[in-house]
């Protein structure tokens, strides 16, 4: 037990110093009107919960929450999950050469630095020479302007599918082949096999995966690199909004409060997932 403590403590020390402590401080800042510059920078005052009441009446925050929900739902819960699972399922029995090639591209999308990735996608969606317009033969369509959220969902599905794919690959390996074959022997269709055999087995994995990618997506800042939240707040998800409030507006107090609200929202979502997970057993 004592040795276990020794093993955990370096990690906990770092986490405590660089995660828990700043997080608590941030929550505290959320109760003040602290700003980076101006008079409030010298002498911030406690404003109690007024940042929170402000957030509740802030149409832009509501907008950001709604967009974040769409973003998570579209790109994580649906996009990455389904594409990741499909890839894992389909790649299970393809030739290794094919599987390695496909996986390499999927993983490349995941490991490339986000700054680089942002340029890739700006080029992809570009209005004039963009790849998408070249492929579809629709020169002049400003995808990032006309369909910003759809673009972001598309982008983030591309970016994050690798994680789901890997997780589901290892999950599927844990499904005993004999069970799949039993289903085949009685003539079950592909869909019946998925529903009756595969899914009940990997339920825990589905939930872990969904939980992790939902959290990561909800806190993802890369939309900023593509659209900067625009046009006209149409793709301003909560992290982007927090950034804009903090840096453009300089209102660190308010942005801390919103960060905390995002944390609460994440917590709620996690609790729902965990509840679902527990019901499994």
């Amino acid at each position: 037990m004592g040795r276990a403590f020794g093993f955990v403590s370096p990690a906990m020390l770092l986490i405590g110093a660089f995660l828990v402590f700043p997080a608590i401080w941030t929550i505290y800042i959320g109760l003040t009107n602290y700003r980076l510059t101006g008079i409030e920078a010298v002498s911030p005052s406690m404003v109690g919960l007024s940042n929170y009441t402000k957030a509740l009446n802030d149409a832009l925050f509501h907008n950001a929450l709604w967009l974040t929900l769409l973003f998570v739902l579209g790109s994580a819960i649906i996009g990455q999950n389904i594409l990741g699972f499909t890839l894992a399922w389909v790649m299970r029995r393809t030739r290794p050469a094919v599987r390695r090639t496909v996986e390499a591209f999927v993983l490349l999308a995941w490991i490339l630095p986000s700054t680089v990735v942002a340029y890739l996608w700006v080029a992809f969606f570009d209005r004039d020479g963009g790849t998408l317009n070249n492929i579809l033969g629709t020169p002049g369509t400003a995808w990032l302007i006309d369909y910003p959220m759809a673009c972001l969902v598309f982008f983030n599905t591309w970016r994050g599918t690798a994680f789901s794919m890997m997780l589901y690959s290892s999950a599927l390996q844990a499904v005993p082949p004999s069970q799949l074959e039993s289903a085949r022997m009685v003539g079950a269709s592909g869909w019946q096999t998925l529903r009756d055999v595969v899914f009940p087995h990997i339920r825990g994995h589905v939930l872990t995966n969904t939980l992790l990618i939902s959290l990561w997506t909800a806190n993802d800042f890369s939309p900023f690199l593509l659209t900067k939240g625009g046009p006209n707040h149409e793709s301003e998800t909560v992290p982007v909004y927090i950034y804009n409030v903090a840096l453009q507006g300089g209102e660190l107090g308010y942005s801390s409060a919103i960060s905390f609200l995002l944390l609460i929202a994440n917590l709620l979502v996690s609790l729902i997932y965990l509840r679902l997970l527990r019901r499994r057993s």
Binding site: P176, S178, Q179, E181, S182, A183, R184, M185, V186, G187, A188, S189, Q192, D196, V197, P200, H201
Partner: protein, 373 residues
């Protein structure tokens, strides 16, 4: 009910392993048929090829005289029980049993009725609502059987159905399985690497090695006259003694020994009956520990002499290892006759129980072919 015909069947895995390598086989309608062989010899692969889970590279599989070589597993009319039973852990026993019917969209009422009936047949009443994890190994095995039976296949395939049970349970399940197959009369092919199991259960046994058939016959035939040293070594709860020897005298014609010949082996000699080899031929002499008799005094006629090395208790019997001129020979003796290590003993065997094999090919030197269909 249906027979299975296998013709020139070969199954090659993508990595190039010829797991089944040109097999011809006929399983009769209603027969309880065992596939026996050491680990890796291709038993499972053959079974899976019959089921359609692996596709045949060459040759044909016919079930009930219909060519099913390219038919989907679900459409061949076969049911299979996997080694690990492959019960669906999230479904209750009754859901497991009736899953084949659910797939075919049979009504819930019919399904419940089938579950009741099948569970009755396999003494699973009262367990229908449990999950597989709440069952003992033997019960799980019966659920797997029930599911296979409920699918109403014409052929039942079992892959090492008893290997996951512990020693005692295995004996019970063996008897149960044999009785069940008798009652249902369903053509059954089962895979095992345990020769005792195959001998106890099967109507006929196919012994395989490296994807090829080495002997096909009834348990009695396979046990009494193994067609080659491979089968001889494999069959029997204590391994057969296989000793290098030379034919020293023959009676009858020069090569076909009608009555009794003598082989010199392990510093002594044994008489053997009805074999086909000339005097002076280099042979492998096969004789089961159970057929050797141990005496301490002197005997007349061909015999082996040696010292007792070690004795293993087999229950009512002991397996005694005797060192005869440097060769270790196993003999079983009744428990009360177990000699002390170090004792000098004499071994004899009835000529009809001494088999001779070609030293090179390992094939039985028999007048009649060993495999009688």
């Amino acid at each position: 009910m249906a027979g299975i015909d296998i013709e020139g069947l070969a199954t090659v895995y993508p990595n190039g392993v010829r797991a089944v390598d040109g097999l011809d086989l006929h399983v009769a309608d209603g027969e309880f048929f065992a596939l026996l062989g050491p680990s890796g010899c291709g038993k499972t692969t053959l079974l899976r090829t019959i089921a359609g889970l692996e596709s045949a590279t060459e040759g044909k599989v016919r079930i009930d005289a219909v060519d099913v070589t390219r038919t989907e597993p679900g459409k061949r009319g076969v049911a299979m029980v996997f080694q690990d039973y492959a019960l669906f852990p999230h479904m209750s026993v009754s859901e497991n049993i009736t899953y084949p019917l659910k797939v075919r969209r049979v009504s819930a009422a019919t399904r419940a009725e089938t579950a009741e009936r099948t569970a009755g047949e396999l003494s699973l009443d009262g367990l229908l609502e449990r999950k597989p994890a709440q069952l003992s190994g033997g019960q799980q095995q019966r659920v797997a059987l029930a599911r296979a039976i409920a699918s109403r296949g014409k052929v039942l395939l079992l892959d090492e159905p008893l290997s996951n049970l512990d020693a005692r349970l295995r004996l019970e399940a063996r008897t149960f399985l044999k009785k069940l197959q008798r009652d249902l009369g369903i053509t059954t092919v089962f895979v095992t690497h345990d020769q005792a199991e195959a001998l106890a259960l099967a109507d006929r046994i196919a012994v395989m090695e490296a994807g090829k058939l080495r002997q096909l016959g009834s348990p009695r035939e396979v046990f009494a006259r193994p067609a080659n040293t491979f089968v001889a070594n494999f069959i029997g709860s204590t391994p057969m003694n296989l000793l290098p020897g030379t034919v020293s005298s023959t009676s009858g014609s020069e090569t076909y020994v009608d009555e009794v010949g003598v082989v010199s082996v392990a510093g002594g000699s044994l008489s053997a009956a009805t074999f086909s080899a000339p005097a002076g031929a280099e042979v492998t002499v096969g004789v089961r520990p159970e057929y050797l008799t141990l005496a301490s005094g002197d005997v007349t006629g061909p015999a082996l002499r040696g010292q007792v090395v070690v004795a293993e208790n087999l229950g009512t019997q002991s397996l005694v290892s005797v060192d005869c001129d440097g060769t270790l020979i196993g003999v079983t003796v009744p428990e009360e006759n177990e000699p002390e290590p170090g004792t000098t003993v004499v071994l004899t065997a009835p000529a009809s129980r001494v088999l001779l094999y070609d030293r090179e090919s390992g094939d039985l030197l028999a007048r009649q072919p060993a495999t009688v269909a």
